[in-house]
């Protein structure tokens, strides 16, 4: 085998490998991209049903309702403009509190209930998920830093 042929075989192997990997990556990408929607977008019907996405906002004060004998919980997420009711069956993160900015991952049910598979809050009192911060800024519901800290103190 000449060096040229050998090189060509290697080039072929590499190209096949890379294209296979690209194909795998893109196929997996398609399935696993999670888009972010604000409560306003959800209410306006822009968010898909039957497809997982993320929704974020502030947990409305006084909206957290637990079922007495299970871990199921319902609460309302708001961006100041619109609201989404979230249902979640599981353990909420340590820093989940009313008034806190959080992100829920899950699917929108046909009746408008957001069934969350995961609820994320961060381990930092001053932290606000950037998506939530943007959404709140748009509606003008962003608490000022002092308010925000005060709400947690």
């Amino acid at each position: 085998m000449t060096p040229r042929q050998r090189r060509m075989i290697w080039v072929a192997v590499i190209i096949t490998g890379v294209s296979l990997a690209t194909f795998l990556a893109l196929a997996a990408f398609q399935k696993n991209l999670l888009y972010f929607y604000t409560p306003s977008q959800v209410q306006a019907g822009e968010a898909p049903t039957g497809y997982a996405f993320r929704v974020g906002g502030l947990v409305e004060k006084g909206s957290v309702k637990r079922q007495p004998d299970s871990l199921a919980v319902r609460f309302t997420l708001t961006d100041g403009n619109a609201k989404v009711t979230v249902f979640y069956d599981g353990i909420l993160p340590d820093l989940f509190r009313e008034g806190q900015g959080i992100i829920a991952i899950g699917q929108l049910q046909p009746d408008g209930l957001f069934k969350a598979s995961q609820v994320l809050a961060k381990h930092d009192e001053n932290y606000m998920p950037p998506e939530v911060a943007d959404a709140l800024k748009k509606t003008g519901a962003m608490p000022t830093v002092d308010e925000f800290k005060g709400a947690n103190r």
Binding site: A21, L34, D69, H123
Partner: protein, 658 residues
């Protein structure tokens, strides 16, 4: 005063770094020996002043000097001493200082352990490292000064993030940084070799032990990080494909490719150009990792700072390093001739395949990590890429690696013999499958095809990785066969460690069971073979927190095997709540309990996990690290005679003539 000393020492260190970069590089280019001689003393002095500076910051933490802003923001007088010391690198400014200190340490080490290297070559390596150091020190002094004063001085500090108040903080970042920053050494070797035009086997031989040591630290750092996240985050997972984890994993993949490619370059003189490129990529990805973590583009437990100025600085620095080195590469690499010939089936080819797979794996991680950031920066929408993406891409790309790692060492350099290989390994294929079938059907469920396949791969790799050793013993008829270079044992151990790691992944990922339950005192829950009896919650006082401590008695059948006391801690300074899981560890399985939230009537929501073989994951990581260190300790790297160097390093010959 001590903070000002620290600041002063930092400025002097910067001056030393400038000396260390300018004179040696200019001296090597213009062939002025006296300029080149600046390199070593400047490098050591730089390290000394960095150490002084670091000590000053540590002292400020120990003595609770809250007039230093960084201390005030990340420490507290109630914080235990061990965490006050670890808190030095618990946030942005201090961790960059640690980065600089470790770079200084590596530089000083290179300035000492370089016997036999040609003087201009040493000058260039240290010069390059000096340039990197200038960048980092400027970054600290201009954007992230840890010694900044806070006036008026607050009465007490705002405390370290409770998540970080753990032994893990004491060990994970320093080890990880040793690995990250250690990649600067092969990078500098590569750039120096490009500059001097002497890319040869000797260069690879010099670069190899450094790369192996850095790789070992990186392996250890990632392993520790995974173990820490496992017990601290309370979710029972050991890897989350979090962008920050990926930031450390990408350099690891590149560095793994690099150590294999260096082997070819050293032994066979092939892949020179490719090896240089890998060295550049490995360090670039380390820097990219720093950018991702430090710039605030990522949000995670690791992302401390949200300062666009810092991000811009690192981005420019990153651009200079990557752009500059790739430009140099483009100018110089085409002149390097790869003479080595090897057949399509040879150890070289298999190692090339290893490299391709590792690079593809790194690229797929890079895509998943950067794509959401790019999309967001271009205002095309906010997305995130979930862990399923990574596992579905990563598994098919890396699976061949596990199979190939068992074969590679059995195949000869240059021209392998396929028939001979087949004779050696044919029984291992059915044996691995049968062993996996037996193990899964005794303890687990053999119908889980993925874990069955992964387990068979692991058994295959474990047994074939020991095969070369067995052959050598057989060949020499006894114990004399055990007398092999440590490099050989290093490889064997690392490959065996990879198999152990894979056993852990295969079993714990597929056969772990978990349950989220609501338990009132006296209630019990069954999970697999274990019964968890909840005895209620008591209040405990920690040094700087209060805790609700649950008591769980674990029964296997009627026998009580453990009492676990998970906590829910409240840290009053930051008003933070923290879950502290309790684990009953064993090689066969971990029993893991984490408290959720308090419900009415003393009931709690509780997470229960039984995770079989999860410890094997970290055991495998430790074995791989051990293998790397063993390989780096090979006598071959210490026994290089200066005279032989003169033959191979053309540079040396030039200076002797000149």
């Amino acid at each position: 005063m001590i903070a000002e000393f620290g600041q002063l020492a930092l400025v002097i260190a910067l001056l030393m770094a400038i000396l260390q970069a300018v004179f040696p590089l200019a001296g090597a280019a213009l062939k002025v020996p006296i300029w080149m001689a600046v390199a070593r003393p400047a490098a050591r002095a730089q390290f000394l002043f960095l150490a002084v500076s670091f000590y000053c910051l540590t002292q400020s933490f120990i003595s609770n000097d809250f007039s230093v802003r960084y201390v005030a923001e990340h420490s507290n007088s109630a914080l235990p001493l061990m965490y006050r010391i670890a808190a030095v690198w618990g946030a942005h400014e201090g961790s960059v200082l640690l980065w600089a200190l470790i770079l200084g340490l590596w530089t000083a080490a290179v300035s000492i352990f370089n016997r036999g290297l040609a003087e201009p070559f040493v000058a260039r390596i240290l010069g390059i490292m000096g340039l990197i150091s200038i960048g980092i020190l400027l970054f600290i002094l201009l954007t992230s000064n840890p010694f900044e004063r806070l006036i008026p001085m607050p009465p007490d500090g705002r405390d370290l993030n409770p998540l970080l108040q753990d032994f893990g903080l004491a060990v994970h970042p320093p080890m990880l940084y040793m690995g990250y920053v250690g990649m600067a050494v092969p990078f500098s070797f590569a750039i120096a070799a490009l500059l001097s035009g002497s890319l040869d086997a000797a260069w690879a031989r010099w670069s190899r032990p450094w790369t192996l040591i850095a790789w070992s630290f990186l392996t250890l750092g990632i392993t520790l990080g995974s173990w820490w996240a496992y017990y601290e985050l309370g979710w029972g997972g050991w890897w989350f494909w979090d962008p920050v984890e990926n930031a450390s994993f990408m350099p690891w993949l590149m560095a793994t490719a690099l150590i294999h490619s260096l082997a070819v370059t050293e032994k066979r003189g092939a892949f020179k150009v490719w090896t240089v490129l890998l060295a550049i990529f490995a360090f670039s990805l380390s820097l990219l990792g720093m950018f991702l973590v430090r710039s605030g583009v990522l949000v995670s437990v690791h992302a401390f700072a949200n300062d666009p100025e810092r991000g811009l600085f690192i981005l420019i620095f990153l651009g200079l390093v990557i752009g500059g080195s790739l430009l140099l590469y483009a100018l110089r690499a085409p002149a390097v001739k790869d003479h080595a010939r090897f057949s399509l089936f040879s150890r070289e080819s298999l190692l090339l395949l290893n490299n391709i797979l590792l690079v593809i794996a790194a690229a797929s991680v890079l895509l998943g990590t950067l794509y959401p950031l790019v999309l967001d920066a271009l205002k095309l929408g906010k997305i995130s890429v979930g862990p399923p993406y990574f596992s579905s891409v990563f598994t098919p790309v890396t699976a061949p690696l596990f199979v190939l790692a068992g074969i590679g060492p059995l195949v000869a350099w240059r021209q392998g013999n396929l028939a001979k290989l087949w004779r050696q390994i044919r029984w291992f294929i059915p044996a691995s499958l049968i062993a996996a079938a037996i193990i899964t059907s005794i303890w687990f469920d053999p119908k889980q095809i993925k874990s069955f396949a992964a387990l068979a791969c692991a058994i295959w790799l474990a047994s074939t990785s020991l095969l070369p050793l067995a052959q050598r013993v057989h060949l020499r008829q006894g114990w004399r066969g055990l007398k092999q270079p440590t490099g050989f044992y290093g490889m064997t151990l690392a490959h065996f460690g990879l198999a152990v790691f894979l056993v852990g992944v295969a079993i714990s990922n597929h056969y772990s069971t978990e349950k989220t339950v609501r338990l009132a005192p006296g209630d019990s829950a069954q999970l697999g073979d274990y019964r968890f009896v909840f005895q209620g919650v008591t209040e405990q006082e920690g040094p700087n927190y209060t805790a609700d401590e649950g008591t769980f008695e674990i029964y296997a059948g009627n026998e009580k095997i453990a009492t676990l006391k998970p906590q829910k801690r409240f840290y009053p300074v930051q008003r933070n709540i923290m879950t502290e899981a309790a684990i009953d560890p064993a090689l066969s399985r971990d029993i893991y309990v984490a408290l959720g939230e308090a419900m009415e009537d003393g009931a709690w929501s509780v997470r229960l996990y039984v995770k079989p073989a999860v410890r094997w994951i970290w055991l495998g990581g430790l074995l791989m690290m051990g293998g790397g260190l063993l390989a780096a300790a090979d006598r071959r790297y210490r026994a290089i005679k200066p005279a032989r160097q003169a033959d191979t390093l053309t540079e040396h010959a030039l200076t002797v003539k000149g």
